[in-house]
């Protein structure tokens, strides 16, 4: 994933900011401990958010401790200690990383290909370990990535269908966070829409480059709404998805971190879309 799912920082309370950062550091350490130091490079906001969501929904007994870490060696910081939610996020990050590498090897330019091939053996070892922890999710991810590749090859013109594989992966992932049937329903809807959102944000971010390089992008091929440019169409699609996400989130029962989670859903997501939009408009 790509780091689009993050809070709107100025609107966080100081204690929320601190907790969020401690979870981020905790995930980084978890990756290093379970999958080797190199895997810490894959750390992204998306998985920090996933950890916060998992902890908030499951009500894990979360423990923070003052520790040093090699990235910031001078000062001790609050760091979230290992727990089920961090393990889940780290394993899922590794599973998706492995597929991303394979994807780049198949489609990327020469330099990208070489770099990914170099990283592949280590990634494969980490992947096997992560897949053993989450066998069902690993299998589903593999299937969905295959459908993603197939629909890109046929230059799928439906934005909804193009976003479905990522949506399905996150639907299953978030669905696994609760045993309760009703909460599962809410989590699955949130997961589906969140996956869709991530995929579409990435598509909006890459739109110009994809047009230049003649790569697949769903907004290149879709039937536009009257009077909308592909970019406007992308922003409208994303806004709609975010609004529906907020609606689903309103029905989620959360035990911890409500402030951070509300911030992400109600402010952070839209902020990410607006950032991409502005960035792309300025480079024109």
């Amino acid at each position: 994933m790509f780091g689009y799912i993050k809070p709107c920082a100025p609107e966080l309370k100081v204690k929320e900011q601190e907790a969020y950062r401690a979870v981020y550091c905790g995930l980084c350490k978890e990756l290093g401990r379970s999958y080797g130091q190199l895997s810490r490079m894959t750390l992204s906001y998306d998985f920090a958010f996933l950890s916060v969501l998992a902890m908030g929904v499951r009500g894990d007994a979360v423990e923070f401790r003052q520790e040093r870490c090699m990235v910031h060696p001078l000062k001790k910081r609050n760091i979230c200690q290992s727990c089920g939610s961090l393990e889940l996020s780290a394993a899922m990050a590794i599973i998706l990383l492995y597929h991303k590498l394979q994807d780049n090897i198949a489609d990327g330019d020469a330099a990208e290909k070489a770099a990914c091939l170099l990283a592949l053996p280590a990634a494969k070892a980490a992947y096997d370990k992560a897949a053993a922890k989450l066998p069902a999710l690993a299998k589903l991810t593999e299937e969905q990535m295959a459908s993603q590749a197939a629909l890109e090859k046929e230059r799928c013109s439906s934005v909804d269908r193009a976003a479905e594989p990522t949506a399905k992966i996150l639907e299953a992932l978030l669905g696994s966070l609760s045993e309760d049937e009703t909460q599962q329903l809410v989590l699955k809807r949130i997961g589906y829409l969140l996956g869709r959102c991530i995929y579409l944000m990435d598509a909006l971010d890459d739109l110009e480059e994809d047009i230049k390089k003649d790569n697949y992008n769903p907004f290149r091929y879709c039937e536009a709404q009257e009077g909308e440019s592909p970019q406007e169409q992308a922003v409208s699609s994303l806004y709609l998805t975010i609004a529906e996400l907020i609606r689903a989130y309103d029905l989620l029962e959360v035990q911890y971190f409500e402030g951070i989670l509300s911030n992400v859903f109600e402010l952070g997501l839209k902020q990410s879309v607006d950032h991409i939009k502005e960035k792309r408009m300025n480079t024109k």
Partner: protein, 223 residues
């Protein structure tokens, strides 16, 4: 459950604060906002809790200071003749033709795959405005939001006077433009990326009107 927790206010909140909190929540979880939504049942349950909490608090307060203040009925029961019923009566409303009654039932039961199969089996010649609406409904349930919008729009074009189709279409149109769900307080900070068409202007006005009413004023006199 503690009614004050449900409304998210402190037990020593003033009557006005309780009422404001209640109004915000009722607007948010109103069944109209969750019409067609796979989570409609949950929202209805939530609305019920909110109504009960508000009724409990107002009754308690009335009993303890029986001379002062007038008893306020909850939003849902006040408006039961119009919008609140919408979510429940939906499915056997008069707008539904007999042909699609079983498909509506399947959608209500969240049996989306079966509903879609049945609907797709309708020959092209028999595809009325309601067919497009129901197709949009199924797509919306699946999270195929872009295509849902297209089908709702088509249903409105075929039958422009139908309220049910209009509501579905306008809700999506509003959200595409604003990135916020309908039923939220906006406080006038509505920023927009593209130009506005008549529909957007209408939506924004209605919304501004809701905001004003929320604050005790009014923008559009008739509603």
């Amino acid at each position: 459950m503690d009614p004050y927790k449900v409304l998210g206010v402190a037990p020593d909140a003033t009557d006005e604060q309780v009422k404001a909190a209640y109004r915000d929540l009722a607007r948010k979880y109103h069944p109209d906002n969750y019409a067609n939504n796979p989570l409609a049942d949950l929202a209805q349950e939530k609305m019920k809790q909110i109504n009960e909490a508000y009724d409990t608090i107002t009754k308690q307060r009335k009993a303890s200071q029986s001379s002062a203040g007038s008893y306020q009925q909850s939003y849902g029961s006040q408006r039961s003749s119009s919008t609140y019923q919408y979510g429940q009566s939906y499915g056997q409303s008069g707008q539904s033709s007999a042909q699609f009654a079983d498909i509506r039932r399947l959608i209500m039961q969240r049996r989306i795959v079966e509903a879609e199969e049945l609907l797709d089996g309708v020959p092209v010649a028999g595809r009325s405005a309601e067919w497009y609406f129901l197709k949009g409904n199924i797509l919306y349930n699946k999270g195929w939001l872009d295509e849902a919008y297209r089908y709702f729009t088509k249903a409105c074009q075929l039958e422009p006077t139908n309220r049910e189709y209009q509501n579905a279409m306008q809700q999506i149109a509003w959200q595409r433009g604003s990135g916020r769900p309908t039923g939220y307080g906006y406080g006038g900070h509505v920023t927009r990326s593209a130009g506005m068409d008549a529909c957007d202007v209408f939506n924004t006005l209605i919304c501004a009107d809701c905001c004003c009413e929320c604050m005790g004023g009014d923008l559009i006199g008739c509603c």
